[in-house]
Point group: C2
Chain length 398, copies 2
């Protein structure tokens, strides 16, 4: 299992100055920017301390008491352990490699599908490692594009993930005038049919590895990053959107296998959404289940939670100890042609339907009390040129 | 609002002996029984005490300490209050009326669609009021049908609802030999496209009541019965299936409105899945939302939770006090032609795909420790003639 993982990852030497230079040197002036948002992961172990520090001090992602003190302390305390994990998956995270490749293939597709908005060019804005939001937005402005599509790479929306990335864009424009670019936003795409299809194809690849006589009985266990119950109770839509992705995938897959959705990667002492993936593996093993597939359903690239937590900790260790006979882990969408088609389909539909920012995004969670969230929604109304039809009649979008 | 509710309900004089007699007198001998499972509701206030007693002592539905004592005590203490609520919605629950009408229309459709399995005849098996499982199964056997399709009327599966009804069937056959009937099971149908379509049509009916200038901004608030967090953590799939229904409905509806899924009808002091519907109405009102539609997404008939909790308590009282300008409540599917088509589609697909009992049903929740659940799954394997292909190779379905 360990050796197979190295195939997922190759060390990337691109530096950020190179990245921005190559952007400016592009042969044709881009007309449409596709800004791909994601958390990012350390490409080398040197980046681990800063990466952890940024996560631990991002209140959109994680809320700690006295965060400005406790965050850095936890980040520093966990650095060595996290470095070790990245060493075990080949020295760093492949998120940049996959995102950059996806962006290239996506914009090639879009140039063919949508001549009116071509040339399209992709830009990457990560939250916790470079390329950061600020340098990316600067590059987008410098390139003089006509329109920019902010495209979250998390298919399912959570305030902690896409919300955090969008707040970073709002922060950048806080003390700066908006450029003359038509900005629009794709903030969720959990049930795009081609996305469901690529997840189904990734599962089918693994189903084929099981003995034909029991293939129909393999338990398909969808797994996604868990969320604190506090966020669930506030009304974060992430668990519902993940469940909708699971349902859309099973409809595409069209097999009679049993399936479940469970939650991984809980941190800290507070209650999170359960059942947890590792506990579920153990519990099913006790019930006599011997064959299963783990399917990461809420992340489009391989990353530390697939390559280390699922592959090493759960498949190699937990499942083995629990007595599971065969466990496979479905690959992330990565550069699967169906996934590139899915991304292109999402962007093309967005361009064709003319919506600039969805009312679903502008609607806040029922129990949200965050002033940061409130002002961010106001910012996106301005950025994306959204007007309530009759603001005095309705205030349904706040 | 109150007067309009009386339209939903008319007093039903059918007695169960009449019901069973009319079943036996049917002109043509039925070939296929459609057994419609649901909780049922008291048709007259006289039935309230027994109805409550049965709910409060059903450990599949609700778990209380010293349930055999505490259950009856709570039932008796709540009888007067619950009777009063039924009086306020016209004297009783319309669940039987709707289920019986749906069954008649469904079997008429099936007779046309599926001549091979015709004549089809519907039977109703309620959990907490007559007609109970025992008398219904006795009637099915007496009619001498060739096959019987057990069809849960809860589109989304929960161990507390469909699970409880299915356990009642298992109880009936505990000390009795299985009849010579081909039994098969439809235990979930949350994302049937016609079901999503009828929900979408029910929402559209209400959207039309809003001023066209703000129609696109009306908040669509899907609401379903909540679940104790203990059941969520055990792995009950109900919240995911409800979320999948919401997503399928929004895809069918194809409007730009914001939408949310919230949870109603929590009872007792333990933590349940949140946000709660009434709290969400108040919280959105505070945020300035003035227009909304409540959509009961997990029940196919009007019942006390729509007619009293949503219409009287939330729409007439909570929303009014909170300052909501206009709130509408989408009707349940009831006898909408699209809903009858949805039911027929579910049954026809089930018959045509040849599956007798799904592996999804046979798979238990990861943290289930109920011996009753375990033996019930074993019972359905026998009842539906299910064979693991290679039981010695795989035990993936327990």
């Amino acid at each position: 299992m360990l050796t197979s993982m190295y195939r997922h990852h190759s060390k990337i030497s691109t530096t950020w100055s190179n990245f921005i230079r190559s952007a400016s040197q592009s042969a044709q002036k881009p007309k449409t920017a596709i800004i791909m948002l994601n958390m990012g992961g350390p490409q080398t172990t040197d980046q681990v301390p800063d990466y952890l520090l940024r996560i631990m001090t991002d209140r959109d992602m994680i809320q700690l008491p006295v965060q400005s003190k406790l965050g850095p302390w936890i980040a520093s305390r966990r650095s060595e352990e996290v470095k070790k994990k990245y060493m075990e998956i080949g020295g760093g995270s492949p998120i940049y490699k996959w995102t950059d490749l996806q962006g290239k293939l996506l914009t090639q597709s879009l140039d063919k599908m949508l001549p009116d908005t071509a040339p399209h060019k992709h830009y990457i804005a990560f939250r916790y490692v470079p390329p950061f939001t600020d340098e990316t937005l600067t590059a987008v402005e410098k390139d003089g594009v006509e329109r920019a599509i902010i495209f979250s790479q998390y298919p399912q929306y959570s305030c902690a993930t896409t919300g955090s990335s969008l707040n970073a864009i709002a922060d950048f424009y806080k003390n700066r005038s908006l450029p003359n670019i038509k900005f629009t936003l794709i903030e969720r795409w959990a049930t795009n049919q081609l996305l469901a299809k690529v997840f189904a194809e990734r599962i089918q690849e693994k189903l084929q590895l099981f003995d034909g006589r029991i293939r129909d009985q393999v338990l398909i266990m969808f797994t996604a990053h868990s969320l604190p119950l506090k966020a669930v109770s506030r009304g974060d839509t992430y668990p519902h959107e993940v469940a909708a992705s699971v349902s859309a995938t099973m409809n595409q897959l069209s097999v009679p296998n049993p399936y479940r959705l469970v939650w991984q990667s809980k941190v800290g002492p507070l209650p999170w959404l359960q059942p947890y993936t590792d506990d579920a593996i153990k519990a099913y093993a006790k019930k006599g289940v011997k064959h299963m597939i783990l399917v990461p359903i809420a992340f489009v690239n391989e990353h530390i939670e697939t390559l280390h937590e699922l592959d090493i900790e759960y498949c190699d260790e937990v499942a083995k100890e629990a007595g599971i006979k065969q466990i496979e882990r479905a690959a992330a969408p990565n550069d699967h042609p169906t996934f590139i088609a899915a991304m292109a389909d999402v962007v093309a539909r967005h361009i064709n339907n003319g919506e600039t920012v969805s009312r679903q995004f502008l609607s806040r969670c029922p129990h949200c009390v965050s002033e940061r969230c409130k002002s961010s929604k106001e910012f996106y109304k301005k950025l994306c040129n959204y007007t309530d039809y009759e603001p005095e009649l309705a205030a349904s979008t706040v």
